[in-house]
């Protein structure tokens, strides 16, 4: 077990390192460099002073060199200043991460609370009318372009009905937690619906397998009430792969959050990454992408650990967990 964990941790660290270099390279390949932008903004800048600045910023050195220097600072959690916000990138990042976690956490919980029972119901009545209806809804959820769902929600709830604010975080000048709730409703709804279909389908498939297992037949033969069989015996086993898949698909969840946040002008990580990339804010884009990668890797690591802990049949080498 310990060997497995260390192995996975090393692997995750390696992926993160490789990612940081690839992203560093890609961001260098984006249009313009930090100085071009400054030159364009300041008509008094002479070519000589530009050359001096280039040297000060280290832009005349090779990419590899600059990457190592960036890395040395990054491991001390110093990611440099943000060009858009004129403060250290970390100061922008931390509150944005918090906002995203609120959004993601709520949507994820809701999607599981709705999706798992729906999937269980569908698996208990396969090919019934309700199963077909659930199936259709799942396909619709999976096939929906996320930004279009957001547009339709804005059209319905903000433009036509006028019930909810179309975008933003809170009313002007009222940043209290309660004031934020109406602004959270639509993003949470969209993100929940985007993932609901997939979760329901996973649960249904996993439950169908579990309900055919021998222990279910044994329990039935012993006269255990059907309700107990479904919710205690079968679901317990069926939910393990579902949770694993959900954790492994954290990247997809995050991608959904990026779109949702951008559409509703919700100040989270996803919107921050998008704004940073489109605003040529190199430092912020870099740290944002890395934190996103880190979060996804962490989720899949936790999924592995949870899998091992939840399913005692899985062993590593001679050790039993």
């Amino acid at each position: 077990m310990a060997r497995f964990l260390i192995d996975r941790l090393l692997q995750a660290t390696f992926v993160l390192l490789a990612m940081s270099f690839v992203v560093y390279l890609l961001i260098w390949l984006m249009p313009g460099d930090p100085l071009d932008l400054q030159l364009a903004a300041d008509p008094n800048m002479t070519p000589e002073s530009a050359a001096i600045l280039r040297r000060v910023y280290g832009l005349d050195r090779p990419l590899w060199d600059r990457y190592l220097e960036w890395l040395a600072r990054a491991v001390q959690l110093d990611f440099g200043p943000s060009r858009l916000f004129k403060v250290p990138a970390m100061e922008i990042l931390v509150p944005r991460l918090g906002n995203t976690l609120i959004l993601l956490g709520t949507a994820l919980t809701l999607a599981m609370l709705i999706g798992v029972p729906l999937g269980v119901y569908a698996a208990r009545h396969p090919h019934s009318r309700i199963d077909n209806a659930i199936n259709l809804l799942c396909f619709a959820g999976i096939s929906m372009p996320p930004f279009w769902m957001a547009l339709l929600f804005i059209l319905l709830f903000a433009v036509t009905l006028g019930w909810l604010p179309a975008s933003g975080m809170h009313p002007v000048g009222q940043p209290g937690l309660l004031d934020r709730i109406p602004f959270l409703v639509m993003p949470v709804m969209v993100l929940t619906l985007l993932n609901l279909g997939a979760y329901t389908r996973y649960t249904r498939a996993s439950m169908l397998t579990a309900l055919r297992a021998d222990y279910v037949r044994t329990a039935r033969a012993k006269g255990v009430p059907e309700r107990t069989i479904v919710w205690r015996h079968a679901l317990r086993n069926a939910v393990i792969p579902v949770v694993t898949v959900i954790a492994l698909e954290f990247g997809a969840l995050f991608s959904g959050a990026l779109i949702t946040e951008t559409m509703f002008a919700y100040q989270g990580m996803g919107k921050m990454i998008y704004d940073a990339i489109s605003g040529n804010d190199y430092n912020l884009a870099l740290v944002g992408l890395l934190v996103a990668t880190f979060t996804v890797l962490l989720a899949s690591f936790l999924a592995d650990v949870a899998y091992v802990l939840l399913d005692p049949r899985i062993t590593f080498g001679e050790q039993r967990t």
Partner: protein
């Protein structure tokens, strides 16, 4: 792992393609999946309309890129069937031209991604050992990455800095860029599926027989294994097309994908949010096209899976 195939991890699932003798069985099963049949019809109509877009546009007498300040935000009429957009272009004709771009980009990208994934998966599954370990670790790492932010960065890369200034000039370059970056990140699903089925197929008697007869590794992979694992690849391609349409639409919507004046369903929605109060239907139609197309490809993939490989279903009737 795909949203529509939660149970593919079982590598032991050897899918047998429809040989001549059970082709009839395949059609019977496929026709039994009503949603898939309906989807095929819808997609066929859509593809035909897209192919005939220039003819239709000539017949109606609208140019997809003709801008007219005097005809902005026209409501639907006998002249402009779905009305006009914010710079007076006919919405219906642009939707048809958008279908050409969106479908072409999606199908091409899905095929290229499937090609890469098939090669990686075949090699990993057939060779095994450390080659398999390295390739699959790499695939897993790719699968774990947050894809959309990466797509956004890749879409923002400046081609001039790569020394491809000539390519960047081309009007179609935004289309090829989408195809390229989707193929670059999107091959992982097919690779995993192919690897799993290859692992199982490698043990089959026909592979051992071929080896005994002196067939080389390349020949065994291409001639003996590939045809026998074709079904899951076909299903995966179908599902990937749907996914690519979504990715293309998101990137184009954000202004990073297909660049105007080339119409794509995604970039037709770029300004829709600001105009939502003025012209809500401009936001509805292109999105509806995307939605219907993607759901059709997903149903089609589902139906193909049922027909090609009924054993994969725990609830098979």
């Amino acid at each position: 792992m795909s949203a529509t195939q939660p149970d593919l991890s079982a590598g032991a699932r050897v899918a047998l393609g429809p040989s001549r003798s059970n082709l009839g069985l395949f059609f019977a099963r496929f026709l039994g999946h009503r949603a898939a049949v309906a989807s095929l019809v819808v997609l066929a109509v859509m593809a035909t309309a897209a192919l005939c877009a220039p003819l239709i546009s000539a017949a109606i007498g609208h140019d997809p890129n003709a801008v007219s300040i005097l005809r902005r935000f026209r409501p639907p009429s006998s002249v402009n069937w779905l009305g006009t957009d914010h710079i007076g272009r006919d919405l219906f004709i642009r939707l048809l031209y958008g279908a050409r771009i969106s479908l072409f980009a999606a199908i091409t990208a899905a095929l290229v991604a499937a090609l890469i994934g098939t090669v990686v998966g075949l090699v990993a599954g057939y060779v095994g050992g450390w080659v398999d370990a390295v390739l699959m670790r790499f695939t897993d790492a790719m699968l774990a990455l947050p894809q959309l932010p990466l797509y956004i960065v890749l879409a923002a890369v400046d081609l001039k800095k790569l020394g491809l200034a000539a390519v960047a000039q081309d009007e179609m370059s935004s289309l090829w860029r989408i195809v390229f970056i989707v193929a670059l990140l999107g091959w992982t699903r097919v690779a995993r599926i192919v690897r799993g089925t290859t692992l199982a197929a490698r043990q089959e008697p026909y592979v051992r027989a071929a080896r005994a007869l002196g067939a080389g590794h390349a020949r065994i992979m291409a001639v003996h294994i590939l045809p026998n694992i074709a079904s899951p690849i076909i299903v995966a391609i179908t599902l990937t097309i749907g996914e690519v349409i979504l990715i293309e639409s998101v990137l184009s919507f954000l202004g990073l994908g297909i660049q105007p004046p080339l119409a794509s369903w995604g970039n037709m929605l770029t300004n829709a949010q600001e105009m939502l109060w003025r012209a809500p239907m401009l936001a509805v139609w292109p999105g509806l096209c995307i939605f219907v197309t993607v759901i059709c490809f997903n149903f089609l993939g589902d139906g193909l899976q049922d027909a090609l490989d009924p054993r994969s279903r725990p609830d098979a009737r």
